[in-house]
Structure formats: C-alpha cells, structure tokens
C-alpha cells in the first residue's frame, strides 16, 4: 500500500488539475450566466429606453400637431363665424364672398410669401383657401391670386359630396413639377347659418404641414406623409420613398401593432417605421403620417455595449481563472500535505505494528522461557538438596564437613527462593496471574514477619518500631500481600546498618492504606533510584549483601496487580523510606484505626 513518490506527486498534480478544471468550469459558467443575464437585462433596458425615447418624440410631435390642429381649427372656426361671410352667403351676395374673405382672411394669408423663410414662424398661416357651397363643390374665386393659387385639378380634389358638417382634416399632394411636390394640410370648416342652423358652406384652408423634424429641432424622428400611394418625406430621396411606400401599405393592411414600429432598411440604414392615420373619418382621402426613427445611433450604442460586455466578461473570466488557479493550488496544498502525512503515518504504523508483534512474541517467549526454566530448575535443586541432606545424615561425615554441607543446603533454599520468585514473575509477565480480591488483614502478616525476624539466629541489633494498627484490612490475595510486605521488610533488614532502626507506620489516603517502611539504610544514590525497581538490579554499593535483585521488582509488580504501588518515598543519609499503598477493602472501617 505504500505508493512510490513519483506516483504520489502525479496523483496530487492530477487532483490539482481536476480541481482547477472544475473551478474554471464553474467560473466560466457563472461568468457566462452573469453576462447572459446582464446582457439580456441591458438589452431589454436599451430597447425600453429606445421605445420610450421614440414614443416621447412621437408624442412630442403629435402633441405639437394636435395643438396646432386645435389652434388652426379654432382659427378657422372663428373665420367661419365671420358675419360678413355669413352675410355674403345668406343675403344673396355670393359675389361679395371672396372679396370679403380677402379682407377677413388677410392676416391668415399673411405668411403666404414668407413661408419659404422660416416655416415654423408661419405655422398658422394659410397658403390658399376656397369655399365650398352646400353641395360640396368649390365656389371658384374671381381671381386665383386672391385666394391662393391652386390648379383646377387640385381645386376639384377639394370638392366633396356635400359640405362637411364637422371640421375635416385632409392632405393635398400638389406636384408643380416632376420632382418638386408639396403637401398641404387642408382644414375644412363648415359654415353654419346662424339663421337656419344648417351648413350653408364650408371654408377650406390650406396650410403648410408643420414639420418639427428639421435638424434644428433636435429630434431624431423624421416625419412625412403618405398620400395616394406616395410618400412625401423631405428627408428621403425619391427612390427610397418609393421603396418605403410598399412597406407603409403593408402596415396599413395590418393596423394592429403599427404603434410599435416596423423595422425597415432605408438606404441600408436600419430604421423604425411608424404609420398613423392622420385624418380618420375625413371626407378627404386618407393620409398617413409616416415617421422614421433612425436606429443607427441606438444600434451603435448597443454594439458598444456588447463590446463593453465582452471586454468585461473577458476580464472577469481571466480574473476568475487566475483566482481559481490560485485557489486550486492553495486548496491542493493541504491535500498534498495530507497525502504525504498519511503515507508517513501508514509506514510508521506498519513499522509499529511489526515491532509490537515482535515484542509481543518475544515477551511471550520470554515468559514461557522463564516459566519453563523455573520448573526445570526447581527439580534439580530439590534433588541436590535431598542429596545433601542425605549426605548430612551420613554418620561418616565429619563435623567440619557437615557444616559445609549444611551451608550448601542453605544455598539450595536460596536457589529455590529465587526460582519461585522467577516463576511468579514469569507468570505475571505472561499475564496468567489473576488476583482474587478479598479483604485481608495485613497487620497479622506484619506481626508474623516480625516474629520470624526475632527468631532469626543471627539477627542484627536493630530497633524495630511497629506503628501499624491492630487491624488493617485491604483488598487482595493474602499470599501475595504477604510477599510484598516480606520483600519490603527483608530489604529494610538487609540494607540496614548495624544498630539501625526500622519503623513501620500506616496511614489512610482516601481509598488507600499507605504502609511506610522506614529504616536507617544507606542512602540510594540519585542515578540508582530510577533502576532500583528493575529486575536483577543490584546496588553497586551493596555487593556484600546477599540478594538476587528481584525483591523490589516483585513487590512493585505485585502491588500494581493489586492496583496499588510501591515507591521510594525518601532516601538520605539518615533515613530511607519505602511506601506501599493498598486498596482498602472497606475504606470506612479502616480510617479510624489508621493512626495509633
């Protein structure tokens, strides 16, 4: 499971690449989406603005036209009420009609000659006028110049089937030449008799159509008039106008939606085309207002906007890609580290497992070995001792020799003791020693040892002070507890100086009974303190003292099996103290008697 380094680095690089790709994909998608929506939003905005703009311009144009029409109508109405005109018509004085009109309409006709100069200044000035009689036929003027020049053909076109009862708006396309044609807006106003209340005649006035769409007006919209299948739009060349008239007819065929405008191409330039019937319900031929709104500026604006968007999108994309690159390498860094770490961990764990296994095996083997060895050793020692005892019982043995044999027998006892200790330790090492916790009174055990000690044949001159209470009941197994105490007391005895002192005390610490074995032994040097509990450790200063270096180790191991411990509490020139703690079998009972 351990990857080679190369494979690992390629794996991390692959991860980084994938991460980068995914992030790029996300960035691209987000950028694309954002751009798409923004572009759509802006395009809708632009379209909306455009619509509003041309609607506003159209409304302005229409508003002005409406006002003008209203003003013209009002003016014509005032003219149509002139008593002299009524008198001429009603009092059988038709010959006085045009002479009177010349007088009455003189201010209206004032702009006739000046109209070429500034058309807007003469927006309310008529170019010609005619009267229609009650039957709608034109009453011819005595001389054409008085009432404005008008060809006979055009005059005929003013005629209606009857004099109109309401004001009418019409348009008259006059062609004075092949190219030069002018459009006149005509307003027919009925003259209603004040005596009969009936229409007795009509006054028809011809005006120059009001053009707001001069370049100075600031409006982009260009307006013209469609009449009799032809378009009169000053801003347009004749062929273009002809081409457009077809589209105008198309719009007129579908009157719904004409307000929205029809996109058309005029001289290759995109424009919006609007048509509006100028004189609905008129007795005159229908005329349409044709408005052209050039889209070039708007399209240019849109194109610029699109470029700007593309640029912004590119920048955004680049930024996003750079960010994702940085981010992916940043993100892959801990992953790479993690991969390395986990690799190392795995190796270490494998090593540790192997070592553990090995250790366990070794431990097991050594435990078995020590158990086997103990058993194998015990038997020859027993045989040796039996042989020696037999030798001692032999009568032929001299007293001197007998003493020697006796010492040998004593040594066999020591060997047995060591072997038993080893056996016990090996059992503990193998984990086969199970403690049965029972309440044990250790005070008698101490007493018994003290008795044994006093019975020793060559006991040194020691003062023993026993401050242990009469009963001290701890949890554990009696023989092992006895062994612990025996080992500690043996130590205190062995390493004491002649004429020294041994003091045994006990105290309670929460759930613990602490037994302190103090003596006037030689001090244990600092570096040795760490090793005194090790197996087969013997102090260098104590080579003359019999022992095999198992006592303290055994005591500690056993105490730990009893959930207690043994430690060195004090060691100086005067005093050495070992402290063993046992689990109290019944803490409540032990406390009171703990201190004497």
């Amino acid at each position: 499971m351990i990857f080679p380094a190369k494979q690992r680095t390629t794996g991390i690089a692959g991860f980084r690449t994938k991460l980068l790709l995914a992030m790029m994909l996300v960035v691209s998608a987000v950028t694309g989406l954002a751009l798409f929506f923004a572009q759509r939003n802006v395009a809708a905005n632009v379209r909306h603005n455009l619509e509003r703009e041309f609607q506003a311009e159209l409304a302005a144009l229409h508003g002005v036209q409406q006002v003008r029409h209203a003003a013209l109508a009002e003016r014509c109405r005032a003219l149509a009420r002139k008593p002299r005109l009524h008198a001429a018509l009603e009092d059988d004085a038709i010959d006085l009609l045009y002479p009177t009109a010349l007088d009455e309409l003189s201010d209206v006709m004032d702009g006739r000659d000046a109209s070429a100069g500034d058309p807007s200044a003469f927006a309310f000035h008529a170019t010609f006028y005619r009267f229609l009689d009650a039957n709608g036929t034109v009453i011819p003027p005595p001389t054409a110049n008085e009432a404005g020049a008008l060809s006979h053909r055009d005059e005929l076109r003013l005629s209606a089937s009857a004099a109109p009862t309401r004001p009418q708006i019409g348009y008259l396309l006059r062609s004075s030449g092949e190219v030069d044609e002018t459009v006149d807006e005509i307003l027919a106003m009925p003259i209603i008799s004040t005596e009969t209340g009936t229409v007795i005649a009509a006054l028809v006035l011809g005006f120059k159509p009001f053009g707001l769409t001069t370049p100075e007006s600031g409006l982009r919209i260009r307006s013209g008039i469609w009449l009799d299948g032809r378009i009169h739009l000053p801003a347009l060349s004749t062929p273009a106008a002809r081409a457009l008239s077809g589209q105008v007819e198309e719009i007129m065929a579908a009157p719904v939606g004409a307000e929205q405008g029809l996109p058309v191409l005029i001289n290759g330039a995109p424009c919006l085309l609007f048509c509006k019937l100028l004189n609905p319900g008129s007795i005159f031929p229908p005329a349409y207002e044709v408005c052209i709104y050039p889209l070039a500026a708007s399209l240019a604006r849109q194109r610029l906007l699109a470029w700007q968007f593309a640029g912004a999108g590119l920048l955004l994309l680049l930024g996003g890609l750079a960010a994702s690159h940085i981010l992916s390498s940043r993100l892959s860094l801990p992953v790479a580290r993690l991969a390395v770490d986990s690799e190392e961990n795995r190796v270490q764990r494998a090593r540790a497992e192997t070592a553990l296994e090995l250790t366990h095996e070794e431990l097991h083997r050594s435990a078995r070995f020590s158990a086997d060895a103990s058993h194998q050793l015990k038997t020859p020692v027993s045989v040796l001792r039996a042989g020696l005892e037999e030798l001692l019982a032999c009568e032929t043995v001299t007293a001197e020799f007998r003493e020697e044999v006796s010492a040998l027998i004593h040594q066999t006892y020591r060997i047995t003791s060591v072997i038993e200790d080893l056996l016990l330790l090996s059992r503990m090492d193998a984990g086969r020693l199970q403690i049965e916790f029972r309440p044990v009174d250790i005070a008698p055990l101490i007493e018994a040892w003290l008795d044994d000690f006093s019975a020793l044949p060559d006991q040194p001159q020691l003062t023993i002070e026993n401050a242990i209470p009469d009963t001290l009941i701890v949890a554990g197994e009696k023989r092992y507890l006895s062994l612990i105490i025996q080992n500690l007391l043996d130590n205190a005895l062995k390493y004491n100086r002649p004429g020294g002192q041994i003091r045994l005390t006990a105290r309670n610490e929460a759930d613990w009974a602490v037994v302190i074995v103090g003596n006037t032994g030689r001090p244990i040097p600092g570096p040795a303190r760490e090793h005194i509990f090790e197996r087969f450790h013997r102090s260098t200063a104590a080579e003359d003292i019999p022992g095999h270096g198992l006592g303290l180790n055994l005591a500690r191991e056993l105490a730990r099996l009893h959930k207690g411990d043994v430690r060195l509490a004090r060691s100086d020139e005067q005093w050495t103290e070992f402290e063993v703690r046992f689990l109290l079998a019944n803490p409540a009972t032990a406390v009171a008697k703990a201190s004497p």
Binding site: P83, A87, S193, T194, T196
Partner: protein, 214 residues
C-alpha cells in the same frame, strides 16, 4: 338662406284717376303667424329665424298700399338705433328715398353693414360719439337685412316700400291706414322675409274699408 324680399316695384294695377288724398281709411286685422319655436339665440334681438325666414318676435306685419298715386319724396330722417346690442326698432318700414340714421347708443363699437341686394353698405366701426351719425338713404324697395360685423347675432330689418302709405301692425295684428288716395290699389302685407300677402282694394273717398288678412 338667402332673403327674398319681394320686389313689388312694377305693380301698376288698375289706376283710379282723381283720387282724393284724404278721408279714405283702410283698417283691419292681420292674423299674425304663431311662432311655436321659442327663440333662443336671438331672443334679445327680436329677430327670429326659422328655416331661413326672418321675422320679428313677437310677430309684426307691415301693411302698405301700392298703387299709381303721387309719391312725394320723403324728407324726414328716420332713426334705427343700436341699443343694448340690438337694433331699435327691430323692424323699420321706410319709403323709398328715406334717409335712415344709425346712431350707436352702446358703449361698444358697432359695425353695421348690409349685403342685401336692395341696399349694400358698410358703415364701418364706430362708437356713440361718431358725428355725423352714420346714415344711409334707401333708394331701392326691398328687404334690407342689417348685421353688425362685431356682434354677429345682431339683426335688423328695414323694409323699403315704394309708397308713402305704410304702417306696422300692433302685436295683435291691428292696423289703420288713413289719408289714402281713392282708387284701385293693392294692399300688401309683409309677414316675413318670404311671405307677402296682397289684395286689390278699391279706396273711396270718405269711406272706411275694412280688410282682414287672410
């Protein structure tokens, strides 16, 4: 529409020579037409139009005698004033050749004119201070419709007759013509711009003739 004043110029009927200029009287009553339509626009001006007819409201008629008798040239000047934006009187009957003054008693301008064939004239704009008072002499018999160029609804009627014997009836249509020359004449009644009734009469000296119309 157009006013059609009757043109009774050449009605030379049965002439009775040696008629006495006095004593003879014609009296009677003209049944005036009932106007059902309440005038609205011209109420103030006492000229009503109905279907192009001009007449006075309340209705009045002019009764005049035509015949081949001596017609002295009128010397007196008659007045047709403008007062409160109306002609006063509304209807004036004059003999041919009579001079009519048109004084303005209002505080505003008036501009009296007529396009009627019997007399076309235009006095122009003038105020009450205008001196001499604008006037016109009516030389042709017929109905003259007076208008004001400033006040379009003002109407006045001048009936020019070729006789010194004429009278305007009272509101009930009663009339009396006295001092008539004897002889066979034609008695005419002008009712409105289109209707003139006539009846031949024989006037005798000292006699009182009663003629009712119709």
């Amino acid at each position: 529409m157009r006013c059609h004043p009757l043109l009774p110029i050449v009605l030379l009927l049965v002439a009775t020579p040696g008629a006495s200029p006095s004593e003879a009287v014609i009296e009677g009553r003209v049944t005036l037409p009932q106007r059902h339509v309440a005038p609205v626009m011209n109420k103030r001006y006492q000229i009503v139009t109905e279907g192009g007819l001009l007449s006075t409201n309340p209705p009045l008629a002019v009764v005049y005698l035509e015949g081949s008798f001596a017609k002295p040239t009128p010397t007196e000047t008659v007045q047709m004033a403008q007062r409160d934006l109306a002609f006063v009187p509304t209807l004036l009957a004059v003999q041919v050749g009579t001079k009519v003054d048109f004084p303005n008693f209002d505080d505003t301008y008036h501009s009296i004119f007529s396009y009627s064939p019997a007399k076309r004239f235009d006095l122009g704009r003038y105020r009450s201070e205008e001196r001499p008072v604008p006037s016109q002499r009516f030389d042709v018999p017929g109905l003259v419709v007076l208008r004001c160029d400033i006040h379009e609804h003002m109407r006045g009627l001048v009936l020019v007759v070729d006789t010194p014997y004429f009278v305007i009836t009272d509101a009930e249509g009663r009339y009396r013509l006295a001092g008539l020359p004897a002889g066979r004449h034609i008695l005419k009644v002008w009712l409105d711009s289109r209707s003139t009734l006539e009846r031949p009469v024989e006037v005798r000296d000292g006699a009182t003739l009663r003629v009712d119309f119709p």
